[in-house]
């Protein structure tokens, strides 16, 4: 899997899918349109400051609530290269893998990394490097088959590729 590298945008506990993409925008499923409203109810400025490659870091239970796949789709369409969190809500976790948005659980990294730090994630080893702080953390690498799904940019491509 390709490494992720970028600037950190940081959030707290229990970032729910209603704030990641509010239901009032779910009458669309177009990733570009969803990306325009990503994080709107928790951080109005997010869409203006997010740059391709940026990494979201959050505390526990990221992506809790609704099963809407529109949430990881919106984050991915904003150009976010990885989400690091203490823990993820389980449906968000599945959805992120299934659409090919790299995510990684690492409580130590989630606590230590600050907004605007430069961070690199090596998914094969699970090593998270905070370049700004010159610190390394060990996250949980994905089981092999999940890595393959993300490599294929999602479950559907993975199934089509015949690699399963």
């Amino acid at each position: 899997m390709k490494n992720a590298k970028g600037t950190v945008i940081k959030y707290g506990d229990n970032v729910d899918t209603d704030v990641i993409i509010p239901a009032r925008y779910l009458n669309s499923s177009d990733p570009k349109e969803l990306a325009l409203h990503c994080m709107e109810d928790i951080d109005k400025d997010f869409v203006n400051r997010v740059k391709p490659g940026d990494i979201i870091v959050a505390n526990k239970n990221f992506g809790c609530g609704s099963s809407r796949e529109h949430a990881p789709i919106a984050i991915k369409a904003c150009g976010v290269s990885c989400v690091i969190a203490e823990t993820f809500a389980r449906i968000f976790y599945r959805n992120a893998i299934n659409i090919g948005l790299p995510i990684i659980e690492c409580p130590e990294a989630a606590k230590a990394i600050d907004e605007n730090d430069e961070v690199e994630v090596d998914f094969d080893s699970g090593i998270i490097t905070d370049i700004t702080k010159n610190k390394q953390f060990k996250g949980q690498p994905f089981p092999e088959f999940m890595q393959k799904i993300i490599d294929c940019e999602g479950l559907v491509n993975y199934i089509n590729s015949g690699k399963n």
Partner: protein, 421 residues
């Protein structure tokens, strides 16, 4: 090694004698569900797959309940997409407006969910069917697409928390109060990745509607599923609604649980969740002291839009008037519930007391339509989430409560309990 009820169902559907927590398995699916928000994304994905049709047209349920009846042109296009997919693939269980209801109230009523099933749904509240002894869990649209195509899904076998419910709850304490109490106790990630297995003699005092409400909100504690043992009440319910034979699984006596939590139901009080997380609970006695003045009351949703819910609300509202300036919105969960509520005179009670009665829809629960909140408005709601902006403006507030507390609050114009009006 002993298995939990959930693990036994999963093992049987994976063709394995035994599974352990943490194991990755592939399980056969008895039902795949989607709604008008999640299905279009799934349909788009399935169209990209090199497959010919769906795995089984009788084992897919499509319910356009979130923005249906169509709230605007874009939603209408989504519902149309689902309708056309259902027609093309001859999906047996597509429910058009008129037959449609809120999915998790509708499917058990239609007999599509029975004990022993493995069910996935592209809706987080799919965990509701644990009330009939099924393993059911919410997934996203891509999992739904893969499920529709192959009839299979991968799962990580969950560990479990065992909740031993003891004794009889007091008069106004419902399934909603029990699950809010539990979420308040363990937190919104207290059961993350785990099963919530409910047991104990207290279950015999809970109606099927109470059990649906409890299983429904397992996701609000982060749970993978919530599940009840199959007793005679449950078997009678399944027999009344379904032609399918239930398969009854029981947890092994030596099943391994991560934790066991005992709850004496007789000590519980009506419970309310304050903004903006379901874990922010207070008993109604504490909440009354806060003098929370409100603007709206919603009674409905996949959590609390069933007959028991409407009956208890109507029993409190009968012969009374909602407080001046309060908007009371009642949403029966399905067409059958709507009709039964008319026959029992409940709809008349709601209208006479100054409420409105909506066609079945998820509507305001997710901030869709039919009761959106303006800036700084407050709502007492029987729905399941009180996140920031969930029902409207980001400064609006939702207080989650039982139908009894919601009805009493509508009369009082502020958050209160049924014993205080």
């Amino acid at each position: 090694m002993g298995m939990t009820m959930t693990q036994k169902i999963l093992a049987a559907h994976a063709g394995l004698k035994e599974v352990v927590a943490g194991q990755l398995i592939e399980a056969d699916l008895d039902l795949v569900l989607g709604n008008d928000i999640t299905s279009p994304v799934a349909i788009h994905e399935i169209e990209k797959m090199n497959i010919d049709g769906v795995f089984n047209k009788n084992k897919i349920a499509l319910v356009p309940d979130h923005f249906g009846p169509n709230k605007d042109i874009k939603s209408a296009e989504h519902c149309k997409c689902v309708r056309e997919f259902a027609k093309k693939n001859e999906i047996t269980n597509y429910f058009e407006v008129g037959q449609m209801g809120i999915e998790h109230a509708l499917l058990p009523e239609k007999g599509l969910t029975v004990a022993g099933d493995v069910i996935i749904g592209a809706d987080s509240h799919t965990c509701t069917y644990g009330a009939v002894g099924a393993f059911s869990t919410g997934v996203g649209s891509t999992d739904m697409a893969a499920g529709m195509a192959t009839g299979k899904a991968w799962f990580k076998v969950p560990g479990a928390i065992k909740f031993v419910l003891k004794n009889k709850p007091a008069k106004w304490v419902s399934g909603k109060d029990i699950i809010l109490h539990i979420i308040g106790m363990i937190g919104v990630d207290g059961a993350l990745y785990k099963s919530m297995e409910f047991t104990g003699d207290g279950i015999s005092y809970l109606s099927m509607d109470d059990r649906f409400t409890i299983a429904n909100m397992a996701i609000e504690a982060g749970g993978k599923n919530g599940i009840f043992p199959v007793d005679q009440l449950c078997l009678d319910y399944i027999k009344e609604h379904s032609d399918r034979e239930p398969v009854v699984y029981e947890a092994d006596p030596d099943a391994i649980y991560d934790e066991t939590i005992e709850i004496d139901l007789s000590t519980l009080k009506p419970t309310v969740s304050y903004p903006h997380l379901p874990e922010n609970t207070k008993t109604i006695d504490e909440a009354i002291k806060d003098d929370i003045v409100i603007d709206q009351v919603v009674i409905g949703s996949c959590t609390n839009g069933r007959m028991d819910d409407l009956r208890v609300a109507a029993s409190i509202l009968k012969g009374k008037k909602v407080a001046n300036g309060i908007r009371l919105i009642v949403i029966p969960g399905t067409q059958k519930i709507y009709l039964d509520a008319i026959k029992e005179g409940l709809v008349q009670t709601f209208v006479e007391c100054g409420g409105v009665v909506s066609t079945p829809t998820c509507g305001p629960c997710l901030g869709g339509y039919m009761g959106i909140l303006a800036e700084n408005e407050r709502c007492v709601s029987t729905t399941n989430r009180n996140f920031v902006g969930r029902m409207g403006h980001i400064s609006s507030e939702i207080y989650l409560a039982s139908p009894a507390v919601a009805a009493a609050s509508a009369i009082a114009g502020k958050l209160t309990g049924p014993d205080n009006i």
